[in-house]
Amino acid sequence: MADTLIDAATSRQALPAVRAPETSWRESATGYLFLAPWLIGFFGLTLGPALVSLYLSFTDYDLLSNPRWVGAANYVRIATSDPKFSAAMHVTFLYVALSVPLKLAFALLVAMMLNRGLRGLPLYRAIFYLPSLIGASVAVSVLWRQLFASDGLPNQALKLVGIHGPSWISNPDTALYTLVALAVWQFGSPMIIFLAGLRQIPKDVYEAAEIDGASRSQQFWRITLPLLTPVLFFNVVVQTIDAFKAFTPAFIISGGTGGPIDATLFYTLYLYQEAFAYFRMGYASALAWVLVVIIAAFTALSFLSSRYWVHYDG
């Protein structure tokens, strides 16, 4: 409310003489009243907490005693002497680097098949979309855990041909790949976005290319892909940020440990452990800010590079 009044007061002074100050004061006041819930949330739950966590990242804090200022010690430890942090970074980057391109490749491939006016498009689209809709729930992670256990479905199939399959989720060499498979399984929502993008490409462009004798692969590389780059760009950014933030599957499949031997220790899972298992709130805040910097750096790089490969004048 204070903001409303302050702003309303300043607006009255700064106003040009043409408009009646009375109306504008009321307009501004009304605007801020409508905005009030969001403003309270913004200051109380977003900006305030973000600043507090920035402060906490320079302290030692266990919730019981007061935060103790330690300077940059948390960040120094992250950068130099935290093997768990290195493990989490390794796992997370590998997960992002594998799951995002694979997921988008499947999404694009299937979208292109569906875009050819096949009959039954709504049914196919619905089937492929279903996993993305339910994928975030614990139930799906539970299903995945059972699926790749030693008695799971792939191993039952392998048994038919006489191979005794391993327990995929308790083997540190394969555990992460089951999580990648889970992410790729949810290619439905980027597929829908690709499909919407493909619909925008005018048909006559292809007809003209065909008359000029362009082969199918030329049509793909010279027409489809360039015209689809804005959509591709959007999908890359959104999916990558999402992959960095993945939590539930790793938590459920590893039972909250990030095991076996840190093979599924996603960054967010490590952050959760530091904050809510060991109550190292200062260190966990520093981890959170490192994640912000990573995501911001990635986003900035994407936007900077986009001018070289994204075509907006389709």
Binding site: E27, A29, L130, S137, V138, A139, G188, L195, T268, A275
Partner: protein
């Protein structure tokens, strides 16, 4: 390889027919592969435990509901309580999100006030901010308010429009409503509140429904929030209940685990069946993540 494959050497129409058939075969196989795990879970939930292993078929030979009974009361607190809790949290979140986000969106899309552009830019900025940076101070705040083990930390932020994405979604929609309608209402003597209530909201039902459905699904699926704020089993949501179930009996009792997993997915399937169009349009037009 989709469009890369095949040079058109034969007559184009015959080739096209053949390729269409090929695509159908590929897509059908892919559909089966995608759905098989889910159907396997569903079928296994109706099988006696001895049939789950070594029988990967999708039709139970001995149909039994026993796993559902075992799972329902497999913990000290029944799943009925978890479902009730989840329903309360999800419905309150829907009401909160739709109310607070539509109010903010109306201010951004229709009203004029000083600093409007500045706040709008800040609102878009919060879209990019990962929730991890606000997580710990928020936890400390709610801990000090004595809100841990209540639903308030999960619900109150929704009434304060913290999910800025929905504000953005609704701003886009409100802007597409002709301003002449506002002006006509204004001439009839309506103030901004009445215009919001009798002009804008009724015309925005599709966008509000999209926001409501996605809020419901995301809140229903949310695991991280309840994991942090709910410690007492009586206040668990279904996601937490399912996780406890995995930790206690689940490793041995696959049937019951699958039965409860299926039940927690049931509301999502219902939304999928009835609102598929809305969900898919929501993703296609705004890039909402599924």
């Amino acid at each position: 390889m989709v469009d890369l494959a095949g040079q058109d050497q034969v007559s184009p129409s015959r080739n096209r027919g053949g390729r269409t058939l090929l695509y159908h075969v590929v897509l059908c196989l892919a559909s089966i592969a995608m759905l098989y795990p889910l159907l396997w879970m569903l079928a296994s939930s109706f099988k006696p435990d001895s049939d789950i292993f070594g029988d990967a078929s999708l039709w139970p030979r001995h149909f039994s509901l026993a796993a559902y009974w075992r799972g329902w009361s497999g913990l000290q607190v029944t799943f009925g309580k978890f479902f009730l809790n989840s329903l309360v949290v999800s419905l309150c979140s829907v009401v909160g999100n739709v109310m607070s986000c539509s109010l903010a969106a109306y201010a951004f899309a229709r009203l004029k006030f000083r600093g409007q552009k500045f706040w709008f830019a800040l609102m878009l900025g919060t879209l990019m901010l990962p929730y991890h940076v606000t997580l710990i101070p928020q936890y400390i705040l709610f801990l000090n308010l004595d809100w841990v083990d209540t639903f308030l930390p999960l619900i109150v932020p929704k009434f304060l429009a913290v999910d800025a994405f929905f504000i953005f979604l609704l701003v886009q929609f409100f802007r597409s409503i002709p301003r002449e309608l506002d002006e006509a209402a204004m001439i009839d003597g309506c103030g901004p509140w009445r215009i919001y209530w009798i002009v804008i909201l009724p015309l925005s039902i599709p966008a509000l429904a999209t926001a409501a459905i996605f809020t419901f699904i995301w809140t229903w699926d949310d695991f991280f929030g309840p994991l942090i704020y709910l410690n007492d089993m009586n206040s668990y949501t279904v996601q937490l209940g399912l996780r406890s179930f995995v930790d206690s009996t689940g490793k041995s009792d696959w049937g019951a685990l699958f039965a409860m997993s299926t039940l927690t997915l049931l509301p999502l399937f219902v939304f999928f069946l009835f609102f598929q169009r809305l969900l898919i349009d929501g993703i296609a037009t705004t890039g909402l993540k599924g």
